[in-house]
Each structure stands twice: as C-alpha cells, then as structure tokens.
C-alpha cells in the first residue's frame, strides 16, 4: 500500500481567541476523494489553507504528496492545485490570460503555457469566452476557470474549497462531472462542502468537522449506520403543535410542521416518542418512517438537534 496523498496530524490554528482548527487529523489515500464536511465557520477553509502552505499551522504536522507542508512548502506547491472558496481569478484579464498567468507562475515555458491554457479552455467549455475579460463571465464560468487554473500543472493532489457553493443546480452538476472525471484519472481530491449531497456523491470518505474538531468520519454508509438508519417523521396540524412536540421530544422543528426523530434504539424510540407525545396531549397528523440520509447524520453530529449531545 502506498503512502496516503494527504496526511494531517493534530493540526491546529487559532486566530486571537478563536480556535479555528483544533487538533484535526485526517488521511486521504492516493486516488480517493475526502469530503470535509461542516457548517459555515467549522474550520474547513483554515484546514485547506494550512495544507496548501498558505497558512502556517500553530501545531501539528501536514504532509501532501509525501512532503511536509512546513519543511518542503515549494515541493507541496508543485504537487497541488487549489481552487478556493471564491473564484480567485483576475477580473480584468481574459480567461486565457488568467490561465497563462498561473502557468507562467508555475514556471511553464511561454509556448507550453499557451498550449495548456488552450487545452483547459476547451476542456471547460470556455473557448468561446476565452478572450473576453473575466468581468463578463457568469458565476459558473468563473468557477470553471478557477478550477482550470488549479489544474494547469496536472497536479496529483487537488484541494477544492466549497467548489459549488453559490452555483445554480445545472452548473453544480457540470462541476461534479468534471471532478468525477479528474478522480477517474487518478487525482487525489480533498473537497470541502456544506452539502451532504455533494459529499455523498463525490467522496469516498467523509470527515465531519464542527467548531474545529472532527466529530465523525467514515464512508457515507458507515456514518448512516452509526446513527441508526431509520428516521421517524412526525407531521403536525399546526406549527404551534409542532413546536410543542419538538420541545417534548427534545428536537427541533423543520419546514414548519415537521419534527424528526432518529431511531437510535430501534422500535423503543418510536414507542417512547409516541408515549411522550400522548402524555403531552399532542397528536401527530401523520407519522412516517424513512431511511436516514446524510442530512440527518449531519444535523445530529453538528449538534443542531439536542439529541447529538
């Protein structure tokens, strides 16, 4: 077995009093995709910045493509592509000029840079817009260009920080397809996202972080199994009744009149819930059982419902 492409070992970063990343360790085997999942402010970007040598960790070690991020930063930089949370492209340059700029700063020769830029423009469907200033690009086009810029050197390791945040569904599907293509060709990817659907679709392994700490990790399947794979959904006649029920069941209301309970103790969970509601004199309008999704896992793990402790 070859060494993992990315290793983080107890990495930590604080900004004044805020602990952005609190001893996070993770491993990404070569050729796989790791989904780093967390809500806004969880520490995803900080983690990516440390692993891409942009930010120095306060403690811990990081290794990318076998190189220590602090001791061999230039070797790390030669091994990676980074597409940040916001498309880091120059508005006043054309798409082509942006790619050539990044290629030149990667020390590719002029002709090679031009050729690579043309290839990437073609690959990302930007050939027609290639010689227009990026200012005139749509959000989806900018993201694609940004991803293209990250791929200029065919890096073996790719960091994508919330690659589809803010994109319309069609552009998101497009970008997913591109990422899947890269993975198919053997690229190792660390991808951060707030969307479970995205992690579920793209990631081989998922690490859920919250407030700078790892709260769970495993495959999508394992995470779902860990939690119990069934969810009870109570539907109530009025938002008021739902709110009351949520309080009784120590959970939160979703979508107005929907209250969800994860079946962690099998049928006992259902019996208890019904008893509690009965004792409080609330009758659900509708009860359904369904398979748990990663959403349920995520909401539970990040403490957005009290049952996650």
């Amino acid at each position: 077995m070859s060494a993992p492409a990315i290793v983080a070992d107890g990495m930590r970063k604080t900004f004044k009093s805020v602990v952005a990343v609190d001893h996070i360790s993770l491993e990404v085997p070569k050729g796989t995709v790791l989904g780093l999942l967390g809500v806004n402010g969880a520490g995803k970007t900080t983690m990516v910045r440390m692993l891409t040598t942009v930010l120095r960790p306060d403690a811990g070690r990081g290794t990318v493509n076998g190189f220590d991020v602090q001791r061999r930063p230039q070797d790390v930089r030669r091994s990676i592509g980074l597409a940040g949370q916001f498309a880091a492209v120059d508005e006043n340059l054309t798409g082509r000029e942006n790619l050539v700029l990044v290629a030149r700063l990667n020390h590719l020769a002029k002709t090679v840079a031009a050729q690579r830029a043309a290839e990437l423009l073609e690959q990302f469907g930007l050939t027609d817009a290639a010689d227009r200033p990026v200012r005139t690009y749509s959000g989806g086009m900018r993201r694609r260009l940004d991803l293209g810029a990250a791929l200029v050197t065919h890096p073996p390791v790719l960091f994508l920080d919330e690659p589809t945040t803010g994109l319309d569904p069609a552009s998101r599907l497009d970008l997913w397809a591109v990422i899947e293509g890269l993975v198919h060709d053997g690229t190792t990817v660390l991808l951060t996202t707030q969307y479970l659907e995205e992690a579920d679709r793209l990631a081989d392994n998922i690490v859920v972080i919250d407030k700078g700490r790892v709260v769970a990790e495993g495959t999508a399947k394992q995470l779902k199994a860990r939690l119990g794979d069934t969810v009870i959904e109570f539907e109530f006649a009025s938002p008021a009744a739902a709110a009351q029920a949520a309080e009784v069941l120590s959970t939160t209301v979703e979508a107005g009149t929907l209250v969800r309970v994860v079946m962690r103790e099998g049928s006992a969970t259902l019996r208890n819930a019904l008893n509690q509601l009965d004792a409080a004199g609330i009758t659900p309008a509708h009860v359904a059982l369904r398979e748990a999704t990663l959403d349920d896992v995520f909401l539970t793990l990040t403490n957005r419902t009290p049952e996650g402790e």
Binding site: R49, T53, L82, A88, N92, E97
Partner: protein, 256 residues
C-alpha cells in the same frame, strides 16, 4: 541561484499582469493625472502670482513644477496599496501563495509595475509643465536624472504602501489610509511654497523631510538652484525607506 532567477521572472510576469490592467482600464491612468493637473492650475494660475520664490531670477512656475512632479510620484504609490488590497480581497493573493512562485515577486511585481507607471505619469506631467511655461535650466541628462530620482523615491514609497495595502481590508480603506501619510509629506513641504514663511516648527520639518529633500534634489538637477548634496540626500532617504519597509511588507505578506 534558481531562487533568484525565479524571483526575477516571476516579478516580470506579475508586473506585466499589473500593467495590463492599466491598459485595460485607462481611466486609472487618467485619474492619477487629474489631481496634479488641478494643482498645476491652482498654483500656477490662482495662487502663484501671490507667492514669491524668494530667489532672484527663479520664476514661480520653475519652483513649483518639481514639487508637482513629486506630488504626482508620491500619490501614484497609493495604487500599490489599492492594488494589493484588492488582490487580497478577491482571494488572488491566496491563490498566488499556493503556487511554487517566488513570494517576494508578488510584491516585487506590484512595485515594479507601479514604479513604471509612476515614471510615465511624471514624464506626462513634465510635458504639461513645459506647456504652462516650465523651463529646465540644465542639461538633458540632468533632467533625465531628475526623473529617475523621483521615480526611485516613488518606488520607495510603494513599499510603504505595500505594507498598508496588505494590512487593510479593501481598496477603499487603503485609499483612506494613504492620505494621512501623504498629506504631511506633500503639503508640509517645500513643494508648493518656500518654507521660510511657515512657523518655525513646521519650517524645520518642511526643510528636511524626505519628500522636501527629493524636491530639492530635483531642483538641483533640473534648475541648478540647490546643492547637488540633496540628490544624495534623497537617494539615502529612498534607500532607508526601502530597507525598512520592503522587508516589513514581505514579512506581512508571508504571514498574513
């Protein structure tokens, strides 16, 4: 050695990118000429008649123009702060930091581009000076030396503004932060009026601060009315400013 050649080539690539923007958005260049032209108009035609140079045979327009050039070169350095703050704001600096390029070249390219632009703008102002009656009293070579002296001074200030640009959130803040630094340099100086009429404490500052020293150096080179010592004085100031602020700016960039 490879490190240095990368620094040079990366600096050129970055400088070119920054200058491209100037060609794409020519308003930037035009705006940087508006303020000095307004000052030429005000001082040459509005106040000028009431100001005495205190030196026989030296007309006010000749006294004034080197001051205007320096004002132009100094305010031009603001674009370093604005450019870097904008690049930071847009996440571009973040991407650059993840590339195997020379990190100093990010700032080097910015300063090189702004210095080049500064040189061009000063030459344009020199031509405008000729149009409003400015006369040099020395050789062509000395006039060119004067332009170079001012460009070097402007370049030194660019490093100060690089530090500012990296320390603020966005372009507007950078712009706002620049004025309190430039005002005492350009206005509390010998650029527009002889300091002899100022209160003692102000005159003391206005006689010897870096911009005034450079104005004197330029007058020495273009008019021959001051001692050439000021040329060396100005170079020393520029060097001192660079030696202090370039490492500070580079460190700031590395650590931010």
């Amino acid at each position: 050695m490879k490190g240095f050649s990368h620094f040079v080539s990366d600096t050129l690539v970055m400088a070119r990118r920054n200058l491209t923007m100037l060609v794409r958005v020519p308003q930037l260049l035009v705006f940087s000429l508006v303020q000095p032209m307004l000052f030429v108009f005000m001082f040459r035609y509005v106040f000028g008649g009431a100001i005495s140079t205190g030196q026989a045979g030296l007309s006010y327009v000749d006294y004034l123009m080197p001051g205007i050039f320096l004002q132009t070169a100094s305010f031009g350095a603001i674009s370093t702060a604005v450019g870097l703050a904008e690049d930071k704001n847009k996440g571009l600096l973040e991407r650059l930091k993840s590339l195997p390029m020379s990190r100093s070249a990010v700032l080097g390219g910015r300063v090189l581009a702004d210095t080049t632009r500064d040189g061009v703008v000063v030459v344009v102002m020199l031509l405008i000076g000729f149009a409003v009656g400015f006369n040099t009293h020395t050789s062509f070579a000395r006039v060119v030396a004067g332009i170079i002296l001012m460009t070097i001074f402007g370049s030194a200030l660019c490093w100060v503004f690089a530090l500012i640009g990296l320390s603020v959130a966005n372009g507007e803040t950078a712009q706002a932060a620049a004025f309190p630094i430039l005002a005492p340099l350009t206005f509390a100086s010998n650029a527009f009026v002889p300091p002899s009429t100022m209160p003692d404490w102000l005159a003391w500052w206005a006689e010897r601060q870096p911009l005034s020293t450079t104005v004197r150096g330029v007058r020495a080179l273009m008019l021959g009315t001051e001692s050439s010592d000021y040329v060396w004085g100005s170079l020393l100031w520029s060097l001192a400013i660079m030696v202090v602020f370039a490492p500070l700016a580079i460190r700031r960039f590395r650590n931010s």
